[in-house]
Amino acid sequence: MINLNFNVNGKDVKLTVDDSLRLLDILRDELGLTGTKEGCAIGECGACTVIMNGEAVNSCMILAEQVQNAKVETVENLEKNEVLSKLQDAFLDNGAIQCGFCTPGMLMSAKALLDKNQNPSEEEIKTALEGNLCRCTGYIPILNSVKDAVEKINLAKGS
């Protein structure tokens, strides 16, 4: 067992968990944050992507111990007071959601990119989302959403 102190979506969390648990298990089973999905459990599909200390990570590949003192952000943190983030809004406008199983991971990979780089090129967007598989959309509306979000964010900054 391991005693963990870390921060999830802005809240400090203290937990004692089995040290073989993965961050994905901690989020879903211990904290009830089931927005993060398990698609493969071995870091191949990206469905479980969350942001940890500013980086997009596959939460199925992060062991409990690595979470100590970390700052973790999940899909549940994007919508504030029932207002979607600009990124979510762009996904909505572009019809980027089909089955929705890859969507939380896609959003978090895209957010991690935009947090660091507010003017990504098309290649940078494609590279940032390369580890997130989607079988439904053919990626086109997802890439368009990220481009739109970049515009919206920059427009908001300008005004």
Binding site: G100, E130, G138
Partner: protein, 717 residues
């Protein structure tokens, strides 16, 4: 054509929409499947590992089945669990459950099974080349005229091979069974396409031990593409048995490697085509097609895939003399099953390649050769079904025009003269018959139900599931647009077999085409019967009549008559049509094909929701292009793939520009859309590669290793 937002979009964006694994029940325990790692053999002994308290585990096997050990399918030949003999790798032997999922996995991994091994066929070619492996009924479309080929007709004879394809839905297969002993009801929460198939599956294995199975889907179904058509029946059966024996709710979510290795795939095919073409008229005069599918160890639904395969095998060409035979071949591999396209992608992969080969051999422009032979009003399918529209030809003309195909052919020819890398451009066409084949829709006899509440909310009850394709948004839209009712007052309910009439499975591009058009007519019928102009006003002034339930059944057009013995008649009432041009860049040093752009012109008739339809098309086209380019599941000497590292799905980095245009959208009928985007793109990649290099590859996909072999073989010649 309004792009109404999907009703599930916001909860999918904020993480609150529940998929199967997001559900939990009190005292729920976890299950997994123990399956064969032997391809064919008899089970001699099963050794459970030491160091575990066996009384904590619930174990079920064939011996515990109170009902029948046969999964209900078009051909009932597959057991839920093997008894003494296993016929393929991945055949389920036991279901095992335990409260601790991690401990359960560890326990199952340590179980050792002793087999007496028997001869097995695991290689695709070994299966498909040997006619001793044929099983099931041969299908024949015989449209021969008896005329002998003229001596000057040019004969072409080739064999084409297509691989398995993995559906790769992002949400793995999963099921939760909750046994309710007092009511003798087995409640099952399912991620599936066909709740009533699952119901039949559970009731078959449980027999008289239960009164009824009630199936409700999870809110979210994380992709399916055909993969959640029949496997869920087997999984639900075993999960139910575990719940029945343990007395507790049981959840099984397959691990990805298990899901990839043991569930159904697209059938690998061997398609042999012989044609005789008149050099004067440039018309294909006679064709013989031998269409073979590797069905796996059991037939299950393969005969239905075979039917669609032979019915689409000729592609879109009018050929006066045709003979098409379709056969299933047995192998010791998991049964192959449904995947978007359902036999048609294999057919077009072969015939669209063949047509390109004829054109090249006779030195005819591939577009002009297609135009010469393409279906037109007055022609007929080999089943004698008349062609009633020129829409396929319209798709071809439009895609040639917008892709600038003819000009690019010349440009690339020049460019290629001075470059080691090559550019290429290729055509393909395709179509898809909407709904069940032949008399299938008549037999299904689909029924839908709506309940109009006191506040004029319309609740729509259909068994068709929304697995991401937007069905529940589009179906509701077809209803409320017909009577001009507010969209927020018209909602499709979560499918539940105790509340929803059986409107059939979510397959065969039938959801919008059959059920959607039925709901549109239904809305108008209710409006007519009640005599309202505005439903809100009517309900508020006639409160005592509501809530009120209405039901309506699908009635097949009487012109749809199909002779299933002789394969003569109308196989599908309406067809969706498509044509595609794909441009590639061939990297000569790495033997890699880079897809640069794909133009696609599709006729699905009326487009109900433009954004959802374009999304379906783009996603399907990428699956189709990848089928031609990179996806395969079995490699001789390596075996079956294990996950997304060795099974190569396209990522954002592989994406070409994809252009989609719908034509003939003024049609009153919304035709099938789900499958056609997958049917036709693969051969355009192969044909573009030929245009770039002058080399034909007749085995899909066109991976660098295969191209390398072809090019070096060509140099050796």
């Amino acid at each position: 054509m309004k792009s109404i937002r999907k009703i599930d979009a916001i909860p999918k964006l904020n993480g609150s929409w529940k998929f199967l694994d997001d559900y939990s029940y009190e005292e729920m325990i976890h299950g997994q499947l123990l399956y064969s790692t032997c391809h064919h053999g008899t089970i001699k002994k099963i050794h459970f590992p030491d160091g575990y308290n066996l009384s904590e585990f619930t174990v079920v096997s064939a011996a515990n089945i109170p009902g029948e050990n046969i999964v209900p399918e078009p051909v009932c030949d597959q057991p839920y669990m093997a008894d003494k003999e296993v016929f393929h790798f991945g055949q389920v032997i036991m279901g095992i459950a335990h409260p601790n999922r991690k401990l359960l996995r560890e326990f199952i991994r340590k179980i050792k099974i002793e087999y007496e091994e028997l001869p097995a066929i695991i290689d695709i070619k070994e299966c498909l080349e040997n006619e001793d492996n044929v099983f099931g009924k041969e299908l024949i479309i015989d449209h021969r005229t008896g005329r002998k080929p003229d001596p000057n007709w040019i004969h072409h004879h080739k064999i084409y091979y297509t691989p398995h394809q993995e559906q790769a839905y992002l949400e793995p297969q999963g099921m939760i069974a909750v046994w309710q002993p007092k009511e003798k009801i087995m409640f099952v929460r399912a991620t599936c396409q066909c709740p009533f198939f699952v119901k039949e599956g559970v009731e078959t294995i449980m027999g008289s031990a239960i009164k009824e199975a009630v199936i409700e889907t999870s809110e979210g179904i994380g992709g399916a593409f055909g993969g959640k058509e029949d496997f869920p029946s087997l999984l639900a059966g075993i999960t139910s048995l575990l719940s029945y024996k343990s007395g507790k709710p049981v959840k099984i979510v397959l691990e990805r490697e298990d899901d990839i290795q043991i569930t159904t795939k697209r059938h690998p095919a061997r398609i042999e085509i012989e044609t005789w073409t008149d050099p004067e008229t440039r018309k294909i005069m006679k064709i013989y097609i031998d269409y073979r599918l590797d069905a796996g160890a059991y037939q299950t639904l393969s005969p239905v895939v075979l039917a669609r395969g032979v019915l689409h095998a000729i592609s879109g060409y009018s050929i006066p003399d045709a003979y098409i035979r379709g056969r299933l071949f047995r192998s010791n591999t998991p049964s192959n099953g449904a995947f978007r396209g359902f036999g048609a992608p294999q057919a077009f992969a072969a015939m669209e390649a063949h047509v390109e080969s004829i054109a090249a051999d006779m030195n005819i422009n591939p577009y002009k050769f297609r135009r010469k032979n393409i279906f037109r009003i007055g022609n007929e399918f080999p089943t004698t079904q008349p062609i009633l529209e020129n829409n396929l030809s319209d798709c071809l003309e439009r895609v040639i025009e917008k892709s600038n195909y003819l000009q690019k052919l010349e440009e690339f020819k020049e460019w290629n003269k001075t470059h080691k890398d090559k550019k290429g451009i290729g055509i393909s066409i395709g179509y898809h018959g909407g709904g069940y084949t032949g008399n299938g829709e008549k037999v299904l006899n689909s029924e839908v139900k709506v309940v109009i509440e006191k506040d004029a909310t319309v609740k729509i009850y259909v068994a068709n599931t929304d697995m991401g394709q937007g069905a529940h948004t589009t179906l509701a839209q077809m209803f409320f647009e017909a009577i001009d009712h507010p969209r927020e007052k018209c909602l499709v309910q979560l499918p539940n077999t105790s509340k929803t009439p059986n409107s059939g499975p979510t397959v065969a591009s039938r959801t919008i085409y059959i059920i959607g058009n039925l709901l549109r007519r239904f809305a108008l019928k209710i409006k007519d019967e009640l005599g309202f102009e505005n439903l809100d006003d009517y309900v508020s002034s006639n409160q005592n009549e509501f809530p009120r339930e209405f039901r309506m059944k699908f009635v097949q057009d009487p012109s749809v008559v199909f002779d299933e013995e002789n394969y003569v008649g109308v196989a599908y009432k309406d067809y969706s049509w498509a044509a595609c041009v794909t441009e590639i860049y061939f990297h000569a040093d790495t033997y890699q094909i880079e897809l640069t752009k794909s133009w696609n012109v599709i006729d699905i008739g009326k487009v109900v929701n433009q954004k959802i339809a374009v999304g379906q098309a783009e996603g399907g086209i990428l699956q189709g292009l990848a089928y031609g380019l990179c996806e395969f599941f079995y490699k001789a000497g390596y075996g079956r793939m294990h996950g997304f590292s060795d099974y190569a799905l396209p990522t954002t980095m592989d994406l070409p520009e994809i252009d989609v245009e719908f034509i003939h959208t003024d049609s009153p009928i919304a035709k099938g859309l789900g499958e056609i985007p997958m049917d036709f793109p693969a051969p355009s990649v192969r044909n573009a590669f030929h245009n770039a290099t002058g080399i034909f590859i007749d085995e899909y996909p066109l991976v660098p290793e295969r191209i390398f072999k072809s090019l070096t073989a060509d140099e050796r010649r």
